[in-house]
């Protein structure tokens, strides 16, 4: 498809300005005037509409295709949530109103949404209280690590290490490092979970916290989790739960009950709000009772008369971490999602997401190498090492999947699996879709054996063939030139 700049015809117009009825004047100083023409595309209104409509048709999203992107929980985003956020009383609310004198009275509905969503999340994760402010998962991690630092500082301690397993999301070590901690990476064992002996070696009086995803990025639940939490607490450290994989345990296990002190949840994963290009996200953070005093301000409180208000007077708080109260629209969608599903529905989310992942994994087992042979949770990792013998790699399989109308899964993550392909179907896909995906994965495995060239040169059926990713990375061309 051509760029809109390439569709430009000199003299074509989309809009005509009305004739000027005042004297012309231009007081822009010479130094601020542009020296060359802006060279904006000259196209008609219809050209523009067609261009962007065609672009949108090249999009691949949950609304158009199966999207098994591991670790991202690309589930269906209920449209009723999208509709509710457009209600004028919520969409047009000015964020400063609750901060005006008596402004609370005009914003009770919105404050109630923030308050009740935080209550729901506390109940779901087993925490005492939540801040709804962090604007994404990694922002939640940073907020959490800052509270960890504040907690230790309040006890007169300056611990310097955060322990993170080698299978972790890259944001975990990044957040800990930005908060000023030294990251200690602990290897995984043959079962695919953090190695307990190596963990004990790394744990000491300098350990501020342990950051874990459970189930982890291999989709495996760590059965030693209580032991890890107990050891960490004995050493005076805190347990941080990265909620990226919360979908697998909704209604089944609460991180707070298995020893975690801090949790962030990704509303855009677990609670069905749009993701990626359809974002933004939200990463609320919950804490146990002993950390509540460090939560960011403002906090939404429910007063004895049943009304809601913003409260700022918390001297030990880590302070402001986001403009206003977080991504309110996202929080509202998650609130509706939780109300739609209820306790039973959320439990079925976990059950079906785990069932769907295990179903695909079992069906693919004869065709792809499975580095960890155990029942998985909501996602699993296969390796393309069998196919690599014919020169077909994980990236080739991912590209080939697109030929058949599937979004590519996550590849080359987690780093501890060679030629990793990480598949997360989520609970919202039907058995028919899963079966179609399985058939295509098997077809690609056979193709990689019999005619690897097809796989290695995929995609063949899209509007665009394989991009030169290396050239794009080494010599990025960020501007269009004639």
């Amino acid at each position: 498809m051509r760029l809109i700049f390439e569709k430009s015809i000199s003299g074509k117009r989309g809009v005509r300005f009305p004739e000027r009825d005042v004297p012309s004047a231009c007081n822009i100083p010479d130094g601020l005037k542009r020296k060359n023409y802006a060279e904006l595309p000259e196209v008609s209104e219809l050209d523009t509409v067609r261009h962007f409509t065609q672009l949108s048709q090249h999009n691949m999203g949950v609304d158009t295709n199966f999207y098994p992107l591991g670790s991202c929980t690309m589930k269906y985003n209920p449209k009723i949530c999208e509709e509710a956020v457009l209600y004028k009383g919520l969409a047009d609310l000015h964020p400063l109103i609750p901060q005006l004198p008596d402004g609370n009275k005009l914003t009770q509905g919105a404050l109630q949404v923030l308050y009740e969503t935080s209550q729901f999340l506390s109940e779901i994760t087993g925490m005492a209280e939540f801040t709804m402010q962090p604007l994404a998962g990694a922002h939640g991690e940073l907020t959490g690590t800052m509270m960890i630092a504040a907690y230790h500082a309040s006890r007169g301690q300056k611990r310097k290490k955060v322990i993170i397993p080698d299978s972790a999301h890259g944001t975990n070590p990044a957040s800990a490092a930005i908060a000023g901690y030294e990251v200690v990476s602990v290897p995984s064992n043959a079962e695919g979970v953090i190695d307990l002996d190596e963990f004990k070696k790394a744990l000491d009086k300098e350990t501020a916290a342990v950051m874990l995803t459970c189930p982890n990025t291999l989709g495996l639940f760590n059965t030693q989790i209580k032991k890890i939490a107990d050891k960490t607490h004995e050493a005076g450290g805190l347990m941080y739960y990265d909620g990226a994989n919360l979908n697998a345990i909704l209604g089944k296990i609460r991180p707070g009950d298995i020893g975690f002190d801090i949790v962030h949840v990704n509303l855009h994963k677990t609670f069905g709000t749009p993701h990626g290009g359809g974002g933004p996200g939200a990463g609320p953070v919950g804490v146990k009772k002993n950390l509540v005093e460090f939560l960011p301000i403002s906090r939404v409180v429910k007063k004895t008369d049943g009304t809601y208000a913003l409260e700022y007077n918390y001297p030990s708080s880590i302070g402001y971490i986001a403009p206003f109260y977080g991504n309110f629209g996202v929080i509202l969608k998650a609130y509706i999602y939780i109300l739609l599903l209820g306790q039973k529905g959320l439990t079925r989310v976990a059950e079906n997401s785990v069932l769907n992942a295990n179903y695909i994994m079992k069906k693919l087992e004869p065709y792809y190498h499975l580095p960890y042979m155990r029942t998985c949770m909501h996602e699993f990792v296969i390796s393309a090492v069998k196919q690599k013998k014919n020169g077909v790699r994980a990236v080739d399989i991912a590209k080939r999947l697109m030929d058949f109308g599937f979004h590519a899964p996550t590849v080359y993550f987690p780093l501890i699996v060679e030629e990793a392909i990480m598949i997360e179907p989520t609970e919202t896909e039907s058995k028919q879709t899963l079966d179609k995906f399985i058939d295509i994965m098997i077809k690609i495995a056979k193709e990689a054996d019999e005619n690897p060239k097809i796989t290695k040169t995929a995609p063949h059926n899209l509007g665009i063939s394989r991009l030169d990713e290396v050239k794009a990375a080494r010599e990025p061309k960020l501007r269009w030139t004639k």
Binding site: Y412, F413, E418, V470, A473, R474
Partner: protein, 132 residues
């Protein structure tokens, strides 16, 4: 398979002692380059930086992911290879000579001596079942 005159780490760096000096040259092995696939970006420390054994001294980025480069020894960086940052192909074509990354003035020669030799490194890769 791997040059005998070099020492190796479990994180796939090689190290070479410059004759009659206390300077160690560091790069990454042919195996590491193959595993990374196409390399898109390399970040090296500046001369004068102090680095610690087993701690990251830089990062290497392929189209798959970013990986830390781990220092085999403790010391001060005295020179980095400016040739490769602009010409990453050198890592593929000549990882052990033109593909060197940094020179480190070391404090403790034992650290260097205790690294794996070529046959131990090869054994380590075989044990992990990795091709090389």
């Amino acid at each position: 398979m791997f040059p005998d005159e070099l020492k190796y780490t479990k994180t796939h760096e090689w190290a070479k002692m410059e004759e009659n000096t206390d300077v160690v040259i560091v790069g990454i092995t042919d195996h590491a380059v193959k595993q990374l696939g196409d390399i898109a970006f390399l970040e090296l420390p500046e001369a004068g930086n102090k680095i610690k054994k087993d701690s990251p001294f830089g990062a290497i980025e392929s189209i798959k992911a970013v990986f830390d480069l781990t220092s085999p020894v403790t010391g001060e960086v005295i020179e980095t290879n400016q040739q490769i940052t602009d010409n990453l192909e050198l890592l593929n074509t000549d990882p052990y000579e033109q593909g060197w990354m940094i020179k480190i003035k070391i404090e403790n020669k034992n650290e260097f001596e205790s690294l794996m030799n070529a046959s131990v490194y090869e054994g380590f890769l075989n044990e992990k079942g990795e091709e090389h």
